[in-house]
Amino acid sequence: MHVEEKMTVETWPAAPEKQTLEAKNKFLGFWLFLGGETVLFASLFATYLALKDSVPRSDMPLAKDLFEIPLVFAMTMILLTSSLTSVYAMYHMKNFSFKKMQVWLGITVVLGLAFLGLEIYEFNHYVHEFGHTFTSSAFGSAFYTLVGFHGAHVAFGLLWITTLIIRNSKRGLNLYNAPKYYVASLYWHFIDVVWVFIFTVVYLMGMVG
């Protein structure tokens, strides 16, 4: 099958994301990249755990003073739901329903934006209510670096998926852009998995001291 071939529902293959050699390479390469990203986040988690609650003065806020579960729980739910909507999008991609895929990806982007908005609110809250900043203590540096790296990944993912939606809006699916959609959704899932760990290690474990 040729990448630029005009496809129909009948000719659309079962695994459109790996039909050509380029697509297979992209698929594997991206999984490997996620392996590297895993080590990157593992390093950031290690740094956070080493420096958690490590503050120069005893009157500075610690993890148990800062975090409030309702807000973070809402963020978690929003991001988990956005992962689900991206699964719906890939389901429609495999069924060659271009419009439905675009709609579900659009919903994914909206949810991602909502998550990012809440994260900005959260950071703002810590800075202004508690004086917990990037420079105030080693704990602050480690917290904002870990959660901020994740937030930057979310922002990059949003830019990426939005670009894909707009770039392909007029031409529909083909074997050239199907792998692009697919790896973007893989990336989105990865971001979600990292957040599950942040929710557990930073927030839940932070609440119990």
């Binding site: 594997l28 990249f33 390093s43 120069p56 420079t135 080693a138 540096s141 770039r167």
Partner: protein
């Protein structure tokens, strides 16, 4: 598009190299850039040895000495050894597995330009401010206290270059997994390809911790964070861990390809199959795995406690086992072979005792209790130069002579090659052997001078003379390269006459599409098998058809340039009264993201070489 030898203007050639995505040309770029950095790093080493020629010398100041030793180490590891290894991987590995190109030609080019801009950024420190001066390890307790921008150059330059290496690693992994020719199973892959494979996996998992460590240092020094500031709750040991979780696999990232090159050489010039091929594969994988388990042996004196030290000491010594397997396999490969002492073979034979000595001192250092005695003395300096020069640099010289015809189509002069070998080999042992004893006698490393009357004088003179012999060897090699290039006598497919693997079945240099028809691989040493059956080339595995090729692109250069610009903004924004730092940082990052955006929205399907054009090209590619 054609790489056929036709006269072209300098501008066209330059543009071709700036935009190329061909792995063979990227190999040239890595070789040239890595070679230049090797000369710079070598010059820094010579200055160090001149300073240490006599007691209380004042050839350089104490401060400049710190900068020289830091830049020597950093340049040699990141900007010379790594790219030179990458040069051979790019030049040879895709040919060895019978591929037309790497999996991601665009990323291949991006990896090179990121490395080059990172290296340029780091070396601009000599002219713009002060060079980094906290050692190549740049321990945070020292480096965050340094004034000036030296350490900033280190953190940002290595960040950019490291990104390029990571991209290169993923590219090689996917290439080897997905793009092997029909019949090229994993256990038929040449040893150099195997080591490239394992090394790429090490890069994938070892570079992210360095990325994080460098980010933390960048944030601490330039953006007010407190990761390493104990007064603010920070902890400098975090840097040591990240650096060595990266740094120890890094030495295997360097040495394993060297093992690969030597494995090829021993087989070719003994005219024998590599002895114990499957145990060699096993040993390579095991070394790669154990390489991640031993980082704390660089931190025995940090105070992690006797239990941690014991575990890491045992794990460290365990690496001697797979390495020993390799050494014996090489010896048995030569045993009973009909050996030809060509220049590459001389390097390979000299490598075994040289590297072995480094390995033995490695086991000595790996014993935690003894390490307290050796720590921070010249004994350590002698040890790691024996493994890195005696292993990696020997392999780079050997590989340069072995693969020169495949990369450039002409042979380096053998007589000059042997002169290089003798000068460098003698110089190397003269420089570093005596340093073992200097260390045992108590001479500390990284100190700019020593006092008279401590018994260090004669030994240091010997060591410095050796360094000049090595330099002489390198100069002879440069003369050799110039003479060879001017003469430019073209050679055939298999100039050594005993090539065993697929790259020797192709013309020298190969056509830009590598294989006209993908070859059918029937066993280990695929080309040798065909030769033994009296065939002149490989049996094709597919009918002649159109070949799909990637388009050249200037975007990798632009993506890298953006980060280069951003790094200046990040570095200077904290200076008193600086107003342009943050805008430049943002501009650079937007420049990079914008270039990526253009790459993303512009479809790039590559192009096809029509079958008809290939039929005319009968003297190239695989002969049916």
């Amino acid at each position: 598009m054609s790489t056929n030898a036709q006269k072209r203007g300098f501008g066209a050639t330059l543009w071709d190299y700036l935009t190329t995505v061909d792995h063979k040309k990227i190999a040239h770029l890595y070789l040239i850039a890595g070679g230049l950095f090797f000369l710079i790093g070598g010059l820094e080493a010579l200055f160090i040895r001149i300073q240490l020629l006599k007691p209380n010398n004042d050839f350089v100041s104490a401060g400049l000495f710190n900068e020289l030793l830091t830049m020597h180490g950093t340049t040699m590891i990141f900007l010379a050894a790594m790219p030179l290894v990458f040069a051979f991987m790019n030049a040879v590995m895709p040919l060895q597995i019978g591929a037309r190109d790497v999996a991601f030609p665009f990323l291949n080019s991006l990896g090179f330009w990121l490395f080059l801009f990172g290296g340029l950024f780091l070396n601009l420190s000599w002219f713009l401010d002060a060079a980094p001066n906290a050692g190549w390890t740049s321990y945070a307790s020292l480096s965050i206290a340094q004034t000036g921008h030296g350490i900033d150059f280190y953190a940002l330059g290595l960040q950019i270059a490291g990104l390029g290496t990571l991209i290169g690693g993923i590219n090689f992994l996917v290439t080897i997994i997905n793009m092997r020719a029909p019949g090229m199973t994993y256990m038929r892959m040449p040893m150099f390809t195997w080591t490239t494979f394992v090394v790429s996996a090490l890069i994938l998992f070892a570079f992210p911790p360095l990325t994080v460590g460098l980010f933390l240092m960048t944030f601490d020094r330039m953006f007010g964070a407190n990761f390493f500031d104990a007064a603010m709750g920070g902890n400098t040991i975090i840097w040591e861990h990240f650096f060595w979780i990266f740094g120890h696999p890094e030495v295997y990232i360097l040495i394993l390809p060297a093992f690969g090159i030597f494995s090829e050489i021993f087989a070719i010039f003994s005219r024998k199959r590599l002895f114990g091929y499957s145990s060699m594969v096993f040993a390579t994988v095991l070394i790669g795995f154990l390489g991640f388990m031993v980082w704390a042996h660089h931190m025995f004196t940090t105070g992690l406690g006797p239990i941690a030290n014991s575990i890491f000491a045992v794990a460290t010594m365990a690496i001697a086992v797979p390495t020993g397997i390799k050494i014996f396999n090489w010896l048995f490969t030569m045993w009973g072979g009909s050996i030809r002492f060509t220049t590459p073979m001389l390097w390979a034979v000299a490598f075994i005792p040289s590297f072995l000595m480094g390995g033995v001192t490695g086991v000595m250092l790996g014993s935690a209790a003894q390490d307290y005695q050796y720590h921070d003395t010249y004994f350590v300096v002698a040890h790691f130069h024996y493994v890195i020069v005696g292993g990696v640099v020997f392999a780079l010289f050997a590989g340069a002579h072995l693969y020169w015809p495949k990369m450039f189509g002409t042979m380096l002069n053998e007589v000059l090659g042997k002169i290089t070998f003798v000068l460098f080999f003698v110089g190397f042992h003269m420089t570093f052997f005596i340093q073992h004893f200097l260390g045992l006698w108590g001479m500390p490393r990284r100190v700019f001078t020593y006092l008279p009357g401590q018994g260090f004088e004669t030994s240091n003179v010997v060591s410095s003379i050796g360094a000049f012999l090595m330099a002489a060897g390198v100069i002879v090699l440069l003369i050799n390269v110039i003479i060879t290039s001017v003469k430019n006598e073209k050679v055939g497919n298999d100039p050594w006459g005993d090539g065993r693997t697929l790259e020797w079945a192709l013309s020298s240099p190969p056509p830009y599409y590598n294989f006209k028809q993908l070859p059918l691989v029937r066993g280990l040493d695929a080309y040798w098998i065909e030769k033994m059956e009296g065939k002149k080339g490989m049996t094709p595995a597919e009918p002649l058809g159109d070949i799909h090729m990637p388009n050249n692109s200037f975007i990798p250069f632009l993506i890298s340039l953006g980060l280069f610009i951003a790094a200046f903004g990040a570095m200077y924004h904290g200076d008193e009264g600086n107003t342009w730092g943050i805008p430049v940082l943002i501009f650079g990052l937007l420049f990079t993201i914008g270039s990526m955006f253009v790459r993303s929205i512009k479809d790039d399907h590559g192009y096809h070489i029509p079958k008809e054009e290939l039929i005319d090209d009968n003297d190239k590619g695989v002969k049916a």
